[in-house]
């Protein structure tokens, strides 16, 4: 991969239609930087996007990409990576896409540990459908479909990932540009499923989980000398701490063996012979 790739090479010539100030701008810029920094280029990168404001990201970036149906981006990414492990596969979507309709796939993608990166733009609301509560919305969050709160506890995606055997669990904040890019970069470099939940505020529909709120409450684990991201118990404590918001690499399993590796997926499956395989008659003879 060429070393001259700049992060702007991952930008498409489409102007984003996100609301001015939307957190997704920062999330995307960080992803592009992380991809460039890890030596990837648009031609070896495959981005799968979910449905939602967040899912539009594939349109604004330049790479091989697919924008699928709501909630199913992860399986598409797994298929891409399985068929060509040389590709850098990144899946991106919203909290609704990933933790509601796609929650089943999320848990299984985590435990499958395919070597890919999953970035969730968590704005704790449904943006594209104009402001209904999402699975990460607070219990008392008032929206058009929850006039007096949601009456249900929010999903803790990090806890879900940890319980599912996640090998790389991180959280970042889209407006802390440098840290966010760095964290996504570490997720890409991680051998296995790199999961980053990104606080990516919706300035139009969520006036609770705002930039100010995250800026004020965010604790950066990098500032804590005693924090060891390879320590499962420490990670568990941070993840289950509902009083604070954290950013940084929360958990990293140093012994992670990616699924593609353990399954022996090394070949680019796009190359096949002109006819049946040479020994194909053996397949028939098995039935004697």
């Amino acid at each position: 991969m060429s070393s001259q790739v700049r992060f702007t090479d991952f930008k498409s010539d489409k102007q984003p239609t996100w609301c001015p100030g939307c957190g997704d701008f920062g999330t995307m810029n960080g992803m592009m930087k992380a991809l460039a920094n890890t030596g990837n280029d648009p031609d070896n990168t495959f981005i799968v996007a979910g449905i939602g404001c967040s899912g539009k990201i594939g349109t604004y970036m330049h790479s091989y990409a697919l924008h699928g149906v709501h909630g199913r981006a992860l399986p598409v990414g797994i298929g891409v990576k399985a068929a060509n492990p040389n590709l850098e596969v990144m899946v991106a979507g919203g909290d609704g896409d990933g933790y509601s309709i796609g929650a089943g796939h999320f848990v299984h993608a985590v435990r499958r540990n395919m070597d890919m990166t999953y970035v969730v733009m968590d704005n704790r609301i449904y943006g594209l459908t104009k402001g209904q509560f999402s699975p990460t919305s607070r219990e008392d969050f008032e929206t058009s479909t929850s006039p007096d709160g949601t009456h249900q506890a929010p999903v803790n995606p990090l806890a879900l990932a940890l319980a599912a055997g996640g090998t790389f669990i991180a959280q970042s904040f889209s407006s802390d540009a440098q840290r966010h890019a760095q964290i996504v970069q570490e997720a890409i470099e991680h051998p296995g499923f790199g999961f980053v939940n990104v606080y990516s505020p919706c300035v139009t529909f969520n006036d609770v989980d705002t930039y100010d709120y995250f800026r004020d409450s965010l604790v950066d684990l990098a500032d804590d000398e005693d924090y060891d991201s390879t320590d499962y118990d420490q990670a568990k404590e941070v993840i289950l701490d509902s009083d604070k918001e954290y950013q940084g690499v929360i958990y990293r399993d140093e012994n992670s063996v990616p699924y593609n590796e353990s399954m022996g997926l090394t070949e680019n499956m796009s190359e096949i012979p002109d006819g049946a395989p040479e020994d194909a008659m053996d397949l028939v003879r098995e039935f004697y």
């Binding site: 594939g58 330049h62 990409a65 990414g77 298929g79 096949i272 012979p273």
Partner: protein, 587 residues
């Protein structure tokens, strides 16, 4: 002796019915005899009636008939369940020492062979071999050389050690000797052997084999009866060719994984049955709109809902033709025989890649679980051709870029087929989306572009109609006034039914249709006939509706939806009944 022998072993699920039946079927096949198997099974693992039936003849057999000549009954229920098929002279082999079988009453005219299966098995080394004792007894009845059974036992138990094989051979011999010594009845049967070489396989296996032959490298699926065998076949085999099988968490995931793999350039497939097809429907449109080549197999079973999971039906046709919101181009193929499962799988991959569309393969339970013998040449690997369609290699990408230098995955071409390049190829980076898009794959709501893209996708179907051969398979008397049409797995039963009909002086023209969409134009054939009957395994006549729609006329229907495939002799009666009725009407 009759030309064919119908044999069955039945008992409770968990009694080893399947493997015993398979041992016998393989022995027959290796002895150069044709075999056609069918299974009665219930949707449970232990308990519940289950049977494995084998029809065998020196000539090719393509269906089941309503007749049973030799039955190994491990339970009373086995006899009860098959009473209709047993006839005068049928032989029932059972173990009278078994407490539940002591009161067995052999129906009038039938021959009961009470063989102490368990005791003899114990003599040979273990009660577990009682089914093999029964096989030996059946060899005595059918006058089938037991040496041919030996090879099958070797194949089945070889992995467990030579002494196990020897014990089983001994068990078979004890069974045979017991019958010879204790019954001096002259049985009607003599299963001669031939030098012919046959392979014995079922439709699910043939689909898997076709997929590998066609270069399929990625399969993802979620287990469901009766499609699971496709996944089980591919697992452990596809890896030899650099491919992979992934068992997904559900069907939504399975089809999306396969879609991802196809985007990455692999020939990819998923298979499921009714309930799973419902879940996959969400993604049909995405596959079609993103113009991703994908083979989707539906091994149909009885619906609706979870219906009768282990029973036959062809009820998903409308689902495959129309499933999914909006309007999407797609191809629907329906293999008509076990070997056609192989050929249609190969064809499906070529169509998918040439036209960049989803291709549905509509198989069904009857095909999936039927094992049938074929000369190996029927699966001619040298004849497999692979056409990947308009794939643009790295060096050619420049020819297909827009003015701004970007690759155009949805370029509007005259034939509707756009260029395709695989990720990793320099200069080809592009996106695609389920949203309506322009030539570059970017979202649009521009009315003109929308219309152009819809037309472009539909144009691929027109192109395919022109370029490919969508002919049906024709049998019987082309000039007959009676036209019988069927699709999918009914071909074998109907072909044999024609033989029965001929005996009664009824000759018919039979058109077996393996292409549901696009499909052959049957208008001329329908117009030329006085009587048109469409035969299918569903209640409402989904294919008959299509024929009526195409030919603008009414047709008669034979519908079977009791969960059991058509039997040749039964079907012949049905045809006569329908023809007779109309004769009355016209008289």
């Amino acid at each position: 002796m009759p030309e064919d022998l119908n044999w069955a072993i039945g008992g409770e699920a968990g009694d080893g019915i399947d493997s015993t039946g398979k041992i016998f079927a393989q022995a027959l096949s290796r002895a150069g005899r044709h075999v056609f198997t069918s299974k009665d099974f219930a949707s449970r693992i232990r308990g519940g009636y289950t049977a494995y039936k084998v029809r065998t003849s020196v000539d090719r057999v393509e269906s089941v008939v309503d007749r049973l000549d030799i039955l190994i009954a491990l339970t009373q229920r086995t006899v009860d369940e098959n009473l209709d098929e047993l006839h005068e002279g049928s032989v029932i082999i059972y173990d009278g020492e078994r407490t539940t079988m002591q009161d067995l009453e052999i129906p009038e005219g039938m021959i009961g062979l009470d063989v102490p299966l368990k005791s003899l098995a114990e003599d040979a080394g273990g009660a577990i071999m009682r089914n093999v004792v029964a096989l030996g007894a059946a060899c005595a009845v059918a006058d089938f050389p037991i040496e041919n059974l030996d090879e099958s036992l070797q194949k089945r138990f070889g992995g467990k050690g030579e002494s196990i094989v020897e014990n089983n051979k001994e068990a078979a011999r004890l069974g045979r000797e017991y019958v010879r010594e204790n019954y001096d009845h002259e049985f009607d049967y003599e299963l001669e052997t031939t030098d012919a070489d046959y392979v014995l396989l079922n439709g699910d296996e043939a689909i898997g084999m076709g997929a590998i032959a066609a270069g399929c490298r990625f399969y993802s699926g979620y287990p469901i009866t009766p499609a699971t065998n496709v996944m089980e076949y591919l697992t452990g085999r596809i890896e030899r060719y650099g491919g992979a099988v992934i068992q997904a968490e559900d069907e939504l995931s399975a089809i999306n994984m396969a879609l991802g793999a196809a985007r990455a350039g692999a020939r990819a497939m998923t298979a499921t049955s009714g309930p799973g097809i419902d879940l996959m429907t969400e993604t049909f449109g995405l596959v079609a709109t993103t113009e991703t080549p994908l083979v989707i197999v539906d091994v149909m079973r009885s619906g609706p809902s979870t219906g009768m999971p282990t029973k036959q039906e062809q009820g998903d046709l409308n689902m495959l033709l129309y499933g999914g919101h909006g309007e999407i181009p797609r191809f629907v193929l329906a293999p008509t025989t076990v070997s056609e499962c192989f050929h249609k799988a190969v064809e499906a991959f070529n169509l998918a890649e040439k036209y960049q569309t989803p291709v549905f393969l509509a198989a069904d339970l009857a095909l999936a679980v039927t094992e049938q013998t074929f000369p190996p040449e029927e699966f001619d690997m040298d004849a497999v051709e692979i056409d990947r369609g308009n794939v643009v290699s790295e060096g050619q990408i420049d020819e297909w870029v827009s003015e701004s230098g970007q690759f155009q995955p949805h370029l509007e071409t005259e034939d509707g087929i756009s260029p395709r390049t695989f990720p990793g190829n320099a200069g080809g980076a592009h996106m695609t989306t389920g949203l309506e898009h322009d030539a570059l794959g970017r979202r649009t709501e521009d009315t003109d572009v929308r219309v152009d893209q819809v037309d472009k996708r539909n144009r691929k179907v027109e192109t395919a109609i022109e370029r490919e051969d969508w002919s049906p398979r024709e049998f019987g008397d082309a000039d007959s006034d009676t036209l019988i049409i069927s699709w999918g797995s009914n071909e074998g039963a109907m072909r044999e039914a024609m033989g029965f009909l001929e005996e009664d002086g009824v000759s018919v023209r039979f058109v077996s249709v393996p292409y549901i969409f696009p499909r052959p134009d049957l208008t001329d054939a329908v117009e030329a006939a006085d009587e048109v009957i469409v035969v299918e395994c569903n209640a409402t006549g989904q294919f008959a509706d299509l024929v009526e729609h195409d030919a603008l006329t009414r047709v008669k229907r034979i519908n079977k939806y009791d969960g059991v495939r058509f039997k040749a002799d039964e079907l012949a009666e049905d045809v006569k009944r329908v023809l007779g009725e109309s004769a009355e009407v016209t008289a």
